[in-house]
């Protein structure tokens, strides 16, 4: 939990401990990286406005390490620029201050549920046009493109699987929000847009002209097939 406001940190501590979490608090961005390496947390709550190193930089630094730890941003800014910038720097989800404790806990649990589905049956998915195929090994959590493994965060992996399991079906942003992020209702479709961009940047040869994850104007996205 990275936040520079001691009162909020203490209050969050009470709430999170009540819910059965073991939070570790860090007050500024530089300590955040050290704490991350020392404690290996299951999830990071990150305030965007921090003294020293901004939340965005912390987010990038953590994403540069070989870890797919979920990052949830706490932000007081709702402007698209700020939200998109935070998501692009690698956060998986964001919660706008002032949030209700239940809302935050729900978001944390949704992120922690990821990758804990227990034993999954062997499943291999193949999408993309013939000259540029993506192979997904679901239980092993690996994605390969032309024989090379592509590193994806768990969230990106879930997003890709959601699309790949039903190729040709068009997913609206709302459906993806529910399936991948666990939102029941009322959420920000910008989450989907930014993560699709991030995913494309990793698996598409040319993210400007996507061949694997296609946009359906006015509706949503679908997986491209051969």
């Amino acid at each position: 939990m990275v936040d520079d406001d001691p009162a909020l940190a203490e209050m969050l501590g009470i709430v999170l401990r009540n819910e059965g979490f073991e939070p570790v608090f860090v007050a500024d961005g530089e300590q955040a990286l050290t704490a991350f390496r020392d404690h290996r947390p299951d999830i990071i709550l990150l305030d965007l406005m921090l003294p020293g190193m901004s939340g965005i930089d912390v987010c990038r630094a953590i994403r540069a390490e070989p870890s797919g730890v979920p990052i949830v941003m706490l932000t007081a800014k709702t402007d698209t620029v700020d939200v998109v910038l935070g998501l692009e720097s690698g956060a998986d989800d964001y919660v706008v201050k002032p949030f209700k404790p239940k809302e935050l806990v729900a978001r944390i649990r949704a992120q922690l549920r990821r990758g804990r589905g227990g034993e999954t049956p062997a499943e291999r998915l193949v999408i993309g046009p013939p000259h540029n195929q993506i192979t997904i090994d679901v239980p092993a959590h690996t994605v390969t493109r032309n024989g090379e493994e592509v590193k994806l965060t768990p969230l990106e992996f879930d997003l890709l699987i959601a699309l790949a399991r039903k190729p040709r079906q068009v997913f609206t942003r709302e459906v993806l929000l529910e399936q991948v992020w666990g939102y029941r209702h009322s959420a920000d479709t910008r989450l989907v847009n930014v993560h699709v961009q991030r995913l494309r940047a990793k698996i598409e040869p040319d993210p400007e002209r996507p061949e694997i994850i296609l946009t359906v104007r006015g509706v949503g996205y679908k997986a491209g097939t051969g």
Binding site: D5, A7, L8, M11, L12, I14, V15, N18, M49, A76, K77, D79, T80, V81, K97, P98, F99, K100, P101, K102, T172, E174, H185, S186, D188, T189, R190, R217, G218, V219
Partner: protein, 564 residues
Amino acid sequence: MAAAEATDEPPEPPPAVRALRAFQRELSARAVAGYAVARRTWRRSLQLRMVTITLLASALLVGVFGYLVVSLTTRNLMNAAERAAEEQVISGAETARTSLQTLAPSNSSLLPTQIRSQVLDPLAISPDRGQQGTVALVTPDEIAGAIAVPPPDRDVTEFITPELQAAVRKGISRQIITGELYEGEQVTYLVYGSPVPVDWQGAEVALYYFFPLTFEQETANDIRTIVLATGVMLVLLLAVVTGLVTRLVVRPVRLAARTAQRLSAGLLDQRMTVTGEDDLALLAASFNQMAANLQRQIVRLEEMSRLQRRFTSDVSHELRTPLTTVRMAADLIFNERASYPPEVARSAELLQNELDRFESLLTDLLEISRFDAGFASLDSEPTDLVPVVRQAVDRLSAICARAGCEVKLRLPDQPVIAEVDPRRVDRILRNLVENAAEHGEGRPVEVTLAANDTAAAVTVRDHGIGLRPEERKLVFNRFWRADPSRARQSGGTGLGLSISLEDARLHGGWLEAWGEPNQGSQFRLTLPLRAGDRLADSPLPLVPADANGSGPTRPELTGSGVDR
């Protein structure tokens, strides 16, 4: 058969005629185009107008003056010539009379020679004027006929008209004739005739002088040429000078116009060059001063707007963080309220509810201030409005259920794809439906979506207490309440409709209200299907069909959402 053949003749004219007609059409088209170009140039160019007007006015003036000068000098010349001629004729007639007295008309064979040598030669040789004239003495044919010196190539009587002869019988008379008295030269003569009162048995003798007017004509021609040349040169010079002067004035004005255009396009550091100290320099200097003041103001406003934005952003953050803490603490206490005494438990509930209100008020205030700072930005994307409307209504089902009203949705079967910011549209719809539920008196609320080729519209109709006509615009005012004495039902902030109006405007759309007392009200949101398009009409009427006593359209309302 012949008739049939005749009718079979192609009705179209021969190729030559067709070509001619085509040429005519082409010519008239060119003439029209040329006229249009000329008209535009005339309207646009001050210089052209000034030069043309000067040219016309000075040409008229110079023409009149030139005509006067030429005619006056010519008349004076002629007068002088006539006076001189008359004197000569009088003295010549006297001389001729005395000379003729010595001769008698007896020996007819010698008479013409004698007349020539004794009468006419002295007259011809001694002209007062420097030009050679012809002198002729006309006597009856039976005496000597007409004798002229120097002897002309034609009979001199041919050039003396009967009218002149008749006039000369009474006294000295004159006439101007043109003729070839001598072979090869067409000359204009001033002909003077005088009776010679010689006592020759009643025979009429007349003396005629032919003064060539060559000198006068040449002089008049010279004067005319000089006046004409001077006039034309003067007019041209005037035109050129006018052109130059106008250019001198017009150029700085054009320059100022161009600089003003650049300024208004946002190039705030554009200035005019100031040369000299005349009126035009004053124009340039004043212009520059104005530009500098404008620039200072704009920079100051930009700075203020930046600070305002910064402030909004900071306030937002600074307020939200402690509010989060308070919110969490209140939530904790609220969840534990069962274990407290009733007063404390109720306090916890109040705290919780008021925090909700405080939070939405803060959110709305920050949104409004973002609009005021001009910082709101539109994230348009092609969106199907059908699910947007459905979800907005679904999400409000709890509030509607609490207000006891049912929401009827009328959605088209086809998707309505519009380039909009779905979050803002959702917010507008939520505000409208919430407003309808709050004022709907428990009666059904109808939400209708429709689209045409250019626009999509959503109407939200309630059957509550309605609006008075003068309240239709007030509803969009901040913190405006229809009836201050009425208790609030839902925790609206009073900013919802203002924000919705701003949201609609940001899309280039309209948000309008209709209402009649006790007939309920209807709000209509109209959005262009393509971002940036201008709206011309709405696919749905603002006044609902079931409204009583209302005309189909109310002109004073159209576009109220944009004009305000």
